[in-house]
């Protein structure tokens, strides 16, 4: 079936099989590496992207369901908040193997994009669908707090 999709600002028309997952479309047709597969049950969040502005697990969405929508992946996040998050992740050393990192950043971007100040509890809630095996999460929470500081200053 034919779908229209805007990905990281560019418009595409794809012919996709009905069973194709959005995650596979992004990885296999567009070669987007930040969308990663870490599970087959929607638990890990390594595949998180923004769909029409909200973080979703792209392995939980069939490509056709995104028809007419707009997808933004880590590669397409280029504003001040995104820059703050990336910088804070590096400064807080909030990544080790990096496999969870793009999903984490996308989820946190979704949380912080309104510019509202959030608590540690809200940050943890926002990334509870993003698993990380390496960091123990605390450095990621610290990075989110630091990123908020960067954007509000």
């Amino acid at each position: 079936m034919e779908i229209r999709l805007k990905v990281n600002g560019r418009s595409y028309v794809f012919d996709v099989p009905p069973r194709m997952l959005l995650a596979h479309l992004l990885r296999d047709r567009l070669g987007i590496r930040s969308v990663r597969i870490g599970c087959d049950t929607g638990h890990c969040g390594a595949c998180t992207v923004l769909l029409n502005g909200e973080p979703v697990k792209s392995c939980n969405v069939f490509a056709f369901m995104a028809d007419g929508g707009e997808v933004v992946t880590l590669e397409g996040l280029n504003d001040r908040l995104a820059a703050a998050l990336k910088r804070a992740f590096v400064e807080e050393h909030a990544l080790q193997c990096g496999y969870c990192t793009s999903g984490m950043i996308v989820s946190l971007y979704g949380l912080l994009k309104d510019g509202r100040q959030t608590s540690e509890g809200e940050i943890r809630r926002a990334i509870r669908g993003n698993l990380c095996r390496c960091t123990g999460y605390t450095s990621i929470v610290r990075a989110a707090v630091r990123a908020q500081r960067y954007v509000s200053s």
Binding site: G38, T41, F89, R124, L131
Partner: protein, 681 residues
């Protein structure tokens, strides 16, 4: 750090990002039974190639099998029988990866189920015999002893303790995977691995190929390993074989569902030990047994587990005697292997819980008992480990005040202390090749397989320092059997210790060579174009150590554990990247604590998994696991070149034991009887 910037900017390459023209995809048909006879296999109608053990009869190598009573190597594809749920039975190669699962569904296997077992007790009772050659289900049984065994007679008290440590799924966030292609001469393999040389050796042995004809390389990024990505796996052997048959690249990417029941799982052991002491708290020795459930086969180094744990037990204490039985038993579960810490956390938990119980029994302060018995630097343990400048007493001195403070500040909490000597596996060393190319120095450490430790940066910093050139002029090549002549791998906290040794040697050789050629270093770097030297290091294992203090409160109603405070002081040796040291310890602690609070790969008594998803294995979310450890360290240079130690595992070694004891004591405070197992709540 550039390495981290690359990740946040999405400039990464994990195994599934490697795409070769004409690649085909491997899918594996797995046993749904814990134990069964495979009576017949009907192939699917589609697919490029269908493989069973009829065509590909091969076995995975088992390591450390000297002195082992029975060795049952795991077939790459089941031969006549299956012995655990998830065991590979047949393989299919397909053109279109989206069709793989459908094609697999078309294959049909006729099984005749057999009785099966999953626990150490069942194995020892002999309820079912897993391998006919081992009628008692014992693969390895060894006595680990040393010191003056008569000293046990001097004891005034003997305190027994037992612990069951859960089976855990390693669950790196990136599952395993490989891409194999054969160019007619050489078999090339990209593998998401911690140890390319080990994978090469395993595949070579399994297929009967000379290792020189195999080249193994990890992609630039490996999404976590935790011991799970050290050896080769059956799927790598199948992919290699299929690529030679098809003369096309073959890719296999493990799904999480596969990962949950694939080798290797971690931990799964039972220990019962008796600590012998005087009434004043002076420890004399330890006796008892350590039994590891190694699963259905001898795979990678699982025969070593019990023996290694036994040998480490009580390492930081100046005791006189050790007499332990180390056993590995077969069950119908996936084979186990090293999991973050590979024996170190297991040993620390057994040992520290025993010391805690002793203090409890004698009514002594548990911290004081540790101080009283702590071995000085240079102590040689009864089992033969030379601790060297491991720093135990300095660590206890540093932690003493924190301990006194938290016991006052948190009267209702359980305070768990873990004191340990941390083993760093340097033996048998690493090699390093340095080559001058385009006015830059290329440093190759082919055995080092980083999977989230910023090793590329670490070696770049060290090499630039040793060579007196800028970091931009150093290019580091890791995890590639072509990058240096031989190597071992990134595990056992060894990468920096062993790797730096090899780098030092190579740098010295390079300097000697340039002098010989009448060149002035680094001024004449461009005139040294093409110059190549190989260094190596074959030093001794080293020890660091740590004291971790976990303060845990349990909600009286729900028993939900809360970490009120966590302090860790570790001897980290000389430091190259301070932030990375902290990050490794912090993450390591989380992984140890997580096992105490949440993690278990549960099986029923017949060996059927009771978990379907990563969440079911107890993998914690950011809401479950809240721990913000206070990380402190002492720096005592190790005897290895550069004075480095390793920090990949010390956090887990301390975290597992400290959190376990903290929960035990919190339970006691609530008047509840502790579980003597992980998860402890």
């Amino acid at each position: 750090m550039r390495e981290l910037w690359e990740v946040v900017n999405g400039q990464v390459e994990y195994i599934d990002d490697i795409r070769l023209p004409g690649e085909t995809y491997l899918f594996v048909l797995r046993s749904p039974y814990p134990h069964a006879v495979v009576k017949a296999i009907a192939p699917p109608k589609r697919g490029l190639l269908f493989l069973t053990s009829k065509e590909l009869t091969a076995y995975m190598p088992a390591r450390d099998v000297e002195g082992v009573r029975h060795v049952a190597r795991m077939p790459v594809l089941a031969v006549d029988r299956v012995k655990f749920v998830g065991q590979p039975v047949a393989a299919v190669l397909v053109e279109d990866k989206y069709e793989g699962e459908d094609v697999l569904d078309e294959a049909y296997v006729d099984y005749e189920p057999l009785p099966s077992i999953s626990t150490i007790e069942q194995a020892l009772r002999g309820d079912v015999i897993v391998h006919e050659g081992a009628p008692d289900n014992i693969s390895v049984e060894d006595v680990v002893k040393g010191g003056d065994l008569d000293a046990f007679n001097k004891a005034e008290v003997v305190v027994e303790s037992e612990v069951r440590q859960s089976r855990v799924v390693p669950n790196p966030l990136e599952p395993k995977g490989c891409v194999a292609y054969f160019d007619g001469e050489v078999l090339h393999m990209y593998v998401s691995t911690q140890a390319p040389f080990r994978v090469r050796q395993d595949v070579a042995e399994a297929l009967g190929l000379p290792p020189e004809r195999i080249s193994v390389k990890a992609p630039r990024n490996v999404g976590g390993g935790f011991g799970n990505k050290v050896p080769a796996y059956p799927e790598y052997v199948i992919a290699a074989y299929a690529s030679m048959r098809l003369r096309r690249p073959v890719k296999w990417i493990e799904t999480r569902r596969e990962h949950l029941n694939n080798p290797t799982h971690g931990r799964d052991l039972y220990s019962k030990v008796q600590i012998y002491a005087r009434r004043d708290g002076k420890i004399i020795g330890i006796r008892g047994s350590i039994i590891v459930n190694i699963g259905a086969y001898n795979f990678t180094i699982n025969t070593r587990a019990a023996r290694f744990i036994a040998s480490l037990l009580m390492a930081p204490y100046e005791i006189e005697a050790v007499d332990l039985r180390a056993v590995g038993v077969y069950t119908n579960l996936p084979p186990t292997g090293p999991y973050r810490g590979g024996g170190r956390p297991e040993a620390a938990l057994i040992q520290e819980f025993a010391v805690e119980r002793l203090a409890e029994e004698l009514g002594l302060d548990p911290f004081e008992v540790r101080v009283k018995n702590a071995a000085g630097d240079g102590f040689k343990t009864p089992t033969g480990w030379q601790l060297g400048p491991y720093g135990g007493r300095a660590l206890l001195a540093r932690a003493a005040e924190v301990y006194r403070d938290v016991t006052k500040r948190y009267p209702n909490a359980g305070v768990g202390v873990a004191f340990f000597a941390e083993h760093v596996r340097v033996v048998p060393g690493e090699s390093c090749r340095i080559r001058i190319e385009g006015c830059k120095v290329r440093v190759g450490l082919g055995g080092i397989g980083p999977h989230g430790q910023a090793h590329r940066t670490a070696f770049q910093v060290l090499a630039s320092r040793l060579l007196g050139i800028s970091q931009e002029d150093v290019v580091v090549e890791l995890a590639d059997t072509e990058a240096s002549p031989w190597g071992v791998g990134s595990f056992g906290s060894r990468s920096l210790s062993a790797g730096a040794g090899a780098l030092y040697d190579a740098v010295q050789k390079l300097m000697a060579k340039t002098r010989e050629l009448g060149l002035q270093w680094p001024r004449d770097i461009c005139r040294a174009e093409g110059l190549e030297v190989v260094g190596e290091y074959k030093g001794q294992d080293a020890f660091g150590g740590g004291v971790h203090i976990a303060v845990v409160e349990l909600d009286p109603d729900t028993l939900r554990p809360e970490v009120k405070y966590y302090y860790a002081v570790d001897n980290v040796g000389n430091i190259l990247l301070e932030d990375e040291v902290r990050a490794q310890i912090e993450g390591g602690i989380a992984q140890g604590v997580s096992q105490v609070f949440f993690e278990e790969a549960k099986y029923d008594s017949e060996g059927n998994p009771a978990f379907m998803t990563i969440a079911d294995t107890g993998f914690p979310t950011a809401e479950d696991l809240r721990i913000d450890p206070h990380i402190d360290y002492v720096v005592i240079p190790s005897p290895n070149p550069g004075g480095f130690l390793g920090v990949g595992e010390t956090g887990t070694t301390g975290g597992l034991a400290a959190a376990y004891i903290a929960v035990y004591k919190a339970m006691r405070k609530l008047g509840l009887s502790p579980r003597h197992k992980t998860p402890a709540v």
